[in-house]
Structures are given as structure tokens and as C-alpha cells.
Subunit: 583 residues, 2 copies
Amino acid sequence: MRGLRLFERASRSFHDYPLLSKFIVVCAVSGGGLLAYADANSSNGVHALAPPEEVSKKKKVVVLGTGWAGTSFLKKLNNPSYDVQVISPRNYFAFTPLLPSVTCGTVEARSIVEPVRNIVRKKNVDISFWEAECFKIDAENKKVYCRCNQNTNMNGKEEFVVDYDYLVIAMGARPNTFNTPGVMEYCNFLKEVEDAQKIRRTVIDNFEKASLPNLSDEERKRILHFVVVGGGPTGVEFAAELHDFVNEDLVKLYPAAKDFVKITLLEAADHILNMFDKRITGFAEEKFKRDGIDVKLGSMVVKVSDKEISTKVRGNGETTSIPYGMVVWSTGIGTRPVIRDFMKQIGQTNRRALATDEWLRVEGCNNVYALGDCATINQRKVMEDISAIFKKADKDNSGTLTVKEFQEVIDDICERYPQVELYLKNKKMRNIVDMLKEAKGDVAKESIELNINEFKTALSEVDSQMKNLPATAQVASQQGTYLANCFNRMEEAEKNPEGPLRFRGEGRHRFRPFRYKHLGQFAPLGGEQTAAQLPGDWVSIGHSSQWLWYSVYASKQVSWRTRALVVSDWTRRFIFGRDSSGI
Amino acid sequence: MRGLRLFERASRSFHDYPLLSKFIVVCAVSGGGLLAYADANSSNGVHALAPPEEVSKKKKVVVLGTGWAGTSFLKKLNNPSYDVQVISPRNYFAFTPLLPSVTCGTVEARSIVEPVRNIVRKKNVDISFWEAECFKIDAENKKVYCRCNQNTNMNGKEEFVVDYDYLVIAMGARPNTFNTPGVMEYCNFLKEVEDAQKIRRTVIDNFEKASLPNLSDEERKRILHFVVVGGGPTGVEFAAELHDFVNEDLVKLYPAAKDFVKITLLEAADHILNMFDKRITGFAEEKFKRDGIDVKLGSMVVKVSDKEISTKVRGNGETTSIPYGMVVWSTGIGTRPVIRDFMKQIGQTNRRALATDEWLRVEGCNNVYALGDCATINQRKVMEDISAIFKKADKDNSGTLTVKEFQEVIDDICERYPQVELYLKNKKMRNIVDMLKEAKGDVAKESIELNINEFKTALSEVDSQMKNLPATAQVASQQGTYLANCFNRMEEAEKNPEGPLRFRGEGRHRFRPFRYKHLGQFAPLGGEQTAAQLPGDWVSIGHSSQWLWYSVYASKQVSWRTRALVVSDWTRRFIFGRDSSGI
């Protein structure tokens, strides 16, 4: 009895003093030999629900989606003057970079999810959550139409409409099949937690199926042939995880299956991991070769049937069909239907994602923001604004620009048009004055004067440096944080604008535009080896990067609960291996 | 790098020396404050696969099912002279007493399952496993017909036939709906791991649904009305778990739902937990009343529709309909179709389960054994054999039985007919001689002599003590162990029979008949309180029994992996509460 009371009291104090539990988990984590540093936020823990009459005055913010973008927005939002409504078909946030680990049971599905209600519970902002799918956005009337996504019997009450003052679209993307026939019917994807769970079951199922008594060897080979389409980080990591699962765990339980199992990775381009440094690509291809993973480069999938996948070899156009037991399709992202409809509505057609400006505002409508995989930033070209820039900079209206005049607007230009900085960096120029000098010829510094045409020539190459941001968790998360900070400081910024000079209008922009800061990228390659590409082209491959990977992924977890669970899953895997129960 | 190597080496030594890992887990477990004692078996760890020519001489044992009975049979079997084939639609063993905990996330589904292949991997017996469903038993030709239970595309090869020399049927039972209309369509059951996972999702779904904006309060009430049908240990434990889940975890995340949620427990009899002591029943009913769980006694369910459950009150026959959000049906067990077909085949009709003798041999066929929930032991009545017993005991063929003559066969009678011992115990008689004395009237000890009719009168009441064994994990597990021990000693017992005298034949029975040893039963009632009824009518209710429950359930786990996982799940629950993500 006393023992229980003590334990109960202890556990209650965990609830009451989250810091204590954090401390203890840190001890446990470091005890496990893992460096888990935390970027936890202090929350003041107050339920500051405003009284009803005040609620009506609050601006209504509707957030669609609880992925990386939506969740980081909600985590950072701390301005109590908003009434926030979150709508998502999933009531949790999933740490998607660990999905490939879930496919083989290295990490459990439940260890990488955290309920949204838990994330927003202790905030001082009034946030309500509805588990529903938004199926229509009406930007004209500032409404979104939603539907409960469950098997309901609610007599038509499962649909509802929500008004907004600000709309934040963070619905992510769906897998891109490139309209390849059979993909939707026969392939597994790897975007949602359910996908990963289904793949895990299918792998075990196939091993059980292949063990049944009256099959031919050919049939066993087919059932145990796992095909991964797409040599991006997800596909590569899945192939590596599966290889480890098979060779570290399954061969012990299915000794006869050893001779039949095969993993094939199909990639349409010339190399796998082609967004990474060549050293990483080379290492990965070599490692997969040693591991017996068959990497087929230049292979386009043209059709998938129930037992065969047909590929066309790029170059000679030869088509071959390979029997398979399971296909995982991970070849990039496509547009969700509701986003496509919305794009039509606002005149954005023939695009993969919603176009926004650098402040993440959707082009063509007001008070609508889009971030994460469902959006791309349409960067403003310098050449579009070149006359306005010249005019603004030419304060004395002389028709020519002196270096002094120019220097006064340099910072604003660099902030407004990030491609300028990139261009300078690539050309190894110290600053923008060098660029002007080059345009004019080598003259003494202070005496350069450019007319509008010379100015145009000087900046003509700059826009070539514009790049779309990759569709990664990192980008989405930074965008969410950025937007929340904007919302937090909306009133102040209205009074004291923080952004760069408006070249085509008066005054300054309210906020600085969004700037992505690349923190590096991992590509786990199996066998406790990971390739890491960090900023400054720093490349690291091997066991040490694997430990860096463990540390970073543990530290980036959204809650202390998931952090403890993920670390304990890793430990469990080290001790007991991965589970192969077919549940 | 070095750190990794060290860790890798350490983890490898866990694999190589399982005892080391056991020791470490024990440390971890006791560090967590839990007394987890182990009944682990030492296995010699040798893969003694016999060479092919010897295999053919081995007796083929086919085991159907990997539940409690089948798994404990496989665990204890250590006679390498058998070639064992295990067939089950699930490739894992599930620790079913923890299923109610899985419904609310107190314990994770994966923590209570262990792959069968892992259980049998290191045995010295040749055991193969096939994940398939047996759909026909042909006892005449000693064959079982099986079918792969997955969504296959194997061109008809998914069916196969297996020959046997001995068949062990341990397929368990299915839920019993008593043919109540609507139960199959609308109710949740709680027999399989998938059932528990589905209930967990449904509970969360219903909380999310009830939170949607445009519902009436009445509708919210309906959605959050959870009905449990059946007041047995499973139903009661589920109701208690759900109550804890709602009040400890969900109300924090769904504060508005608090006023709408309701749990109702329907029981057709006069009391819940009616197989337990009255003190426990009373305590449970009182506790549920305090907790606000509505216990409706004497309520028979007559119909279930998509939104309403109709009950008839026993006595007045009044029918009422209650709107519900989820129903969990847990009212006892029914017969699987394949067992019913088999029963027809061997002439056992109008029974719920396969009838076996006390040696678990199915009546009406040879070399077929049945155990666990799919079987009941048809105890031999003393009165059926009374003449044979008399004849055997009357060694001098005098037509009367002296006490001396009788004493020589007393032990054999007690062993062969367990009801005799029970009868004596209930009548508070010292031994069987007292019974004879009573029949004869009080005469001096040594001079009693009974003729056949007096003997019959003396034993006439004995058979009233026969009881069927309950359909519990404990019975199934003990039966599995018993049968494995018989199989292990088959050859020796053939030469030197160990069992009681054959009263209707010559010699002795090969084995002692199966005797169930009741070790007690738990009924967790929520709020860290458990009722325990232990042998000798020892009753314990409250927090201390909860700790006993933790200890026993931790110790009874089938592997060190599941033991560690279950204990870490409990710890996780104490620290972080239960997860409410809808996956």
C-alpha cells in the first residue's frame, strides 16, 4: 500500500512538474548512452481561456493540417488575441522522418506520434481541434467546408462549415504516381503512419506466405522479392531498414527463406540520393552492392500488375517485367484534390503546389497562408522590379545611381531578393559593389555611376540563382515557426514594420521575408551506418554519423513522451531485435 | 566509433548469453519497483535437426492453434522423437489476460505478443510453423485441410493438406452471440489482439466525433455512451479500464466531453463477477456505483441496431432501447465452425465443445487430443463403472467388500474419479472409509463388509460433485503442459504405466488423468484496485492485490522481451499517461 502511494505521489509530481520528468528522462536517456539534447519550449501552463464576450472580438485563425508545418505553427503561436481552430483528419502529429524505421519495427508507430490536443493543451492561446477533412476552401467568403472522416452515422451532421479571418493551409501532399497504371491498386506508399504499419504487416505476411508447404521455389522467390521505387532518402532508407530486418532478425526465424529473399531499388535517374553530395551517392551505391540490394539505375516504372512490375530502361527503351511480392512507391509528391480545386478557384493552374510570396501568403487571395509540402514560394525576380528599385535608390532623381546611393538600399535588396546574396557567394564577390564594378569595368571605387540600362546589365544574371525549396520536414517546420512569429507580432509589426523597403510601394514590409536555413540532411544506409550532409558541404559517413543521427532525431521529438519512447525502442531493438508478430 | 562498438559488442553478448540479458532486465524491473519473478525455462539451445532419413521415422504431431493451450504444449514438449507441425492463423502467441489493458493503451498490443517461431526456435524438437487456417479435420484418414488466411494471389496453392499421427486441437473458441440479432454487425468483441486495437481506435474516434461542432447535446451523449455486455471478468475489467482512461487521461484533452460520457454494464444474471466470492462481487458493484458506471443487472440484450441496443429486464419482461456509441460484447464463448463440423463427423452433436476423456483424448476417434476452450473433459461417472470397481476390488470374489480390500483400491479410485475426493472434502469426511461407514451405519472399523448394493448406495451421491472446468487461460495452459509431459514420456509410460488401475480392463492406465490446480483469479476493478480470489477462499481486494496482479502478470509473460515491454508500458503509463492518438 505504502509503496503504491509513494509511486503514485511520484507519478503525480511528474504530471505537476513537467521539468522534473524531463530531468529524469534525460538521466535515463544519458544512462542509455545517448546524447539527447532538447529544444523544449517552456510553456507557462496557464489555461487562459478568454471570457465569451472577448472571444467574439478575437481574430479567427483556421489551420488546416497537423503535419510539420501546422504543428510547428501551433507550437510557436503564443499571441492570445487569436481564436484558433485546427482541422485535420488525424488527431496527432507524426514524426515522419522515422516512418522508414516503423516499417520494420525498429521504432513502434505509437512512439512517433503525439496527439495534437496534448501539444496545444497548455498554451495560453485558445485553440480548438476538430478531427475532420477539409474538402473545400472558399476564399471569397472566407469559409472552409469540412467533413468528419470516420465511418459515421450522424444523419448528415458530419459536415460543417468554418469561418476564418486568417487561413493557414498546411495540408501536405499525397504520393505522386505520375499516372502510372496499377500503382494506386498494387503499391504501398510511405507517407502516413498507417502506410508504415501496413508495410510492416505485408513484409511479415510475405515471409509467412513463402514458408507455406506446397509452393514452387519460383513462387517463393516472387513472394520474397521486395521492390522499392524511387532512390530518394525515403526509398533508400526503407531498402536499408528492410535489409537489416531480414538479415538481423528474420533469417533466424525463417532460415529457409534466406535463399529466396531479394531487394531491388529502382531509380529513374542516373544515381540514387541525387540531392546529396557525390561522395554520399557513391558510398551508398557501393554499400548496397555489398549488401546484395539490387540497384537498377535509369529504370522507369511503366506499369504495375498484381504480380509483376514493368520497367523501361532509359536510353534503349527496353521494357522488362519483374515478378514481385511487395512494391513500395516513394517517388515524390503530388497535389491533394482539395488544393487543386482551390488553385483553380484562384487562378493558379498547371502547378504542383500553391504559389505563395516570400511571406507565405497565397498569391491571388487575401489572408490565406500556405506552407509545407502543399506550397512553394514564388520568389520575386529582381528583373521584374528593376525599374522600381532603380527609382527608389536614385534619391536625387538624377537618372544615374552612385555607389553611395546604392549602398543605402543594398541591405534591403539582399533581404527582399535572397538570390542576390546567393549569386554573390557563387561568384565569390565580396559585396554588391563588386558586381557593379564588374558591369562598369574596373574604375576607382567611389566614382561609379550607373544608368538604368547599366544597372539592369549588372543584375541580369542574378535571378538564375533562384531555387525552389525541397519538400522536407525541415522546410515545413521552419515555415511554421516563421509564420507563428509573424502572427505573434502582427500588431507591433503593423506599427513598426520590420521588413525591407517596399520598392514598388511606400514604406517598409511588415515582416522580413521567410528565409530557409539548411541544417543538413541524413541518409541512413543500414548496418548502423548513416550518411550526413551538413551545411558547408561537410560530409560524414559511417557509424559516427549514425550516432549523430540518433542524437538529432531524439532531440527533435515533439514531446518528452515520444522522446523517451523512441529511445527505449532503439534500446529494445539492440537487446531483443525487432518483433515479427503479424499484428 | 568506439562507443558504438562497445554497445554493439554488449548487445551481441545479449544475443549470445540470454541469461545475461535476463539478469539485466531483472535489475531494470526491480529498479522500477516491481517484483517480477520468473518461471523461465532453461532451454539447451541446440538446433538438433534430425537427418532426413530419421525424420521419416518420426511420429508426426500436428498442433492446431497457438493460444494458451497450444503454446504451453509447444513450450514443454522436449522429446525429439516427434516431427511437429504447428498450424495457426496467427504467427504469434498473445497474452490474452492483458487484452482489456490494450483496449485503452495501458499496455501496447505488441508488448503482449510473441512470435511462435521465436518460442520454438531454440528447442531440440523439430517444429515447423505454418500461418494458415485449418478448415477441415478428417480424423478417419488422419489429415487436416488448411488454407492460407491472407489475401493471396497464389493460384489455388494457398490450400494444403497435412497428415498426422497425433493431432492436438487447441483452436480456442469464438464469441458467443446467442444468435442475438445485430451483434455480429454492430458489436465489438474482445477475444483477439485486433479486437482490442479496434476498440481503442473506436473509443478515441468517438471522443473526436463527439467534439465536432454542429452536434446536438443528445447526439454527443449517444456517441459517448459506451455499453459493455457481460459482467464476467473481461467485461468488468474493460469497463474499469475505460473508466480510468476517460477520467485520468481523456478528460484533460476533451474537457467538454466530461459531461456527456457514460459507461453502462449490462449483465443478465443477478450479479456481476458471479464466479467470484460474494465479497468481491459486492465490492465491485459498490465501486462501480461510486465510479458512476451504470451496472444494470438482470438485463438481457435482445437486439442491437446501428444506434440502439434493446434490452429486456428479466422478471417483468419489459423491453427498453438505449442509444449507444460503442458496444463491447463479452458474454462467453461459442464453437468455431470447423470444430462443429468435426463434432458432427465423430458423432458429438448438441455440444458447445469437443468432449474428451480425462487424458484429453477426443471421444470417438483415435490419436486426437483437444484442449483449451475448444474442449471440455467428459468426466467418467463412478456410477457408470460401479460394478467394475466392485469386481476389481473384491479380490477374493466373495461378493462382499471388506475395508481391507477396499483400502487397496482407494488411491486408484480417487485418482481415476476426482469427484470422490471433492465429495469427501465437502462432506468433511476424513477418508473414503468414513463414507462406507456412513452407508452401513456406525459399526466397528475393521468389520464392515458391503455387498454390491450397499456399495452403490455409499457412492451414489459422489457424481453430483462433477464440475466442468472454466474456459480460462489457466486451464488451457495447464492442459498444454500436461499433454506435453504425456508426449514427452510416451515410450516410458507404454512400458511402465504411471496411471491408476483400469477398472474395466486389464493393467493400469498409461498416464495419470489431467487434474486442474486452481491458482486463483484476479478481477482488476480500476483505480489501481484489484480483487483477487486465491485458493483456500482467500480473498484480497484493493491496492495490495493490484501489486500482486502486476507481479503475477509480469512473471507469467511468455518471454523476457514481452516481460520487459509490459513492465516498461506500465511505467510509461505512470509517467506520461495513456496515448490518445487515433492510430
